[in-house]
Symmetry: C2
Subunit: 240 residues, 2 copies
């Protein structure tokens, strides 16, 4: 048989060849159309090798998802350290950096939303299995709000609310047909601007009962307190 594959020193090299081939094919054709056999072929390995490194096709998406989260954290922290930004600018940084990272990866992002309605699934964006990723993302919003003097209820709830809004924005992003998804970027900006204005308003004691009503509602729903079950960790590969 013709030896088409390049010599490879380490298994980690094989792994990233498979990952790279998988991501490239998924970006190009979407998750469905990128078959494991194609991925293996493009990576220059046999089908079984792909399953040696990744327990399933979804696991590859999971690795991508985690990598996006890490990259986002890095970029946001870098942005916050390099300049002294006000709240609006910080929020803009968090949103736009995320969109930049995901730019060109809409087909991959699509795959992530697939398990939204399946609480048990390891890739459910709201499920226990993605908790650590989610917490990291929420922490960025908490960081963006850190400088603000806020009543306690707002300080606790707003990061989660912002995270939820950011998820909705990603959904919009998937449906956005405008060139380069410029509409999504504009929506983010105007949304943030509105949010900041409303935050000023929400601080007024006059509105306390309403604000309190909303936050009490969300708290009662359990949306502000994830069960802290540290046992629930996804077994997964090292990100490349």
């Amino acid at each position: 048989m013709f030896n088409t594959q390049i010599a490879r020193k380490h298994s980690s090299e094989t792994r990233s060849q498979i990952l790279d081939a998988a991501l490239a094919l998924c970006r190009e054709r979407g998750l469905e159309a990128a078959t494991m056999r194609d991925i293996a072929k493009h990576a220059g390995v046999a089908l079984g090798a792909a399953y040696y490194y990744f327990p399933s096709k979804e696991a590859i998406v999971q690795v991508y998802y985690d990598a996006v989260g890490d990259e986002h954290s890095l970029r946001v922290q870098a942005a916050f350290q390099s300049a002294n930004l006000d709240l609006e600018a910080r929020l803009r940084a968090v949103f736009h950096l995320k969109l930049e990272i995901l730019h060109g990866d809409r087909r991959l992002l699509s795959a992530l939303f697939r398990y939204t309605g399946e609480p048990e699934h390891p890739l459910s964006v709201f499920g226990p299995a993605t908790r650590s990723n989610r917490q990291k993302s929420i922490a960025l919003f908490r960081l963006a709000l850190a400088g603000e003097k806020l009543p306690e209820d707002l300080a606790g709830g707003l990061p989660i609310l912002l995270w939820a809004l950011h998820m909705l924005l990603l959904l919009y992003f998937l449906y956005d047909d405008s060139p380069e998804q410029s509409r999504t970027h504009r929506l983010a900006d105007s949304g943030i601007s509105l949010f900041v204005r409303m935050l000023t308003l929400a601080r007024l004691p006059l509105l306390k009962p309403f604000r309190g009503g909303l936050f009490a509602l969300l708290r009662d729903a359990g949306l502000f307190s994830e069960p802290t079950s540290p046992a629930y960790v996804v077994p997964q590969e090292e990100p490349s």
Copy 2:
């Protein structure tokens, strides 16, 4: 070969046998675990027969989805006609009737959310293919608001906003582990109550700029105006 199947007069009978078997199995084990072979076997037909009546497994879910929509419309209209309800009671009716219909069908509902992130997919809840179903649902919220004197911007946007909130509630419903999903029902009630109180507040001219800001935002995002492409109709079977 043993003739296990009952005599059947019409093909429509075969069809509903397949549909019934499919829904029963999906309710019991979820969409994944209910294989087409099992469905066919339970319906007393060969595998191919299932595909004669339904172009795909998803198509069965689609039929279910449409049936839920129709049933919801019927029940809501009946409720509105049988009694003179105020806004809050009407909204409660819309929400709780939906939850009642879906009660016990969470595994089926799960399947519906699967394509949320795939605009092109015929089952995407936000996609063009489900537009008619969505419009029917939005119309119910418009109906619930019909008696209210509202500024024009609110009258146009609120039904869509309520529909979106109702979708979020369904998502919560899927994650709700409380017995009989009582938490979801409570969340609906307190959410509606808060909504009605906020509506009163939103009418104040004082808040016009903020209200206007939010609605302008959503309008700019194109969320209030679906492209009216009547050509985009899902080819589908008659609901049973």
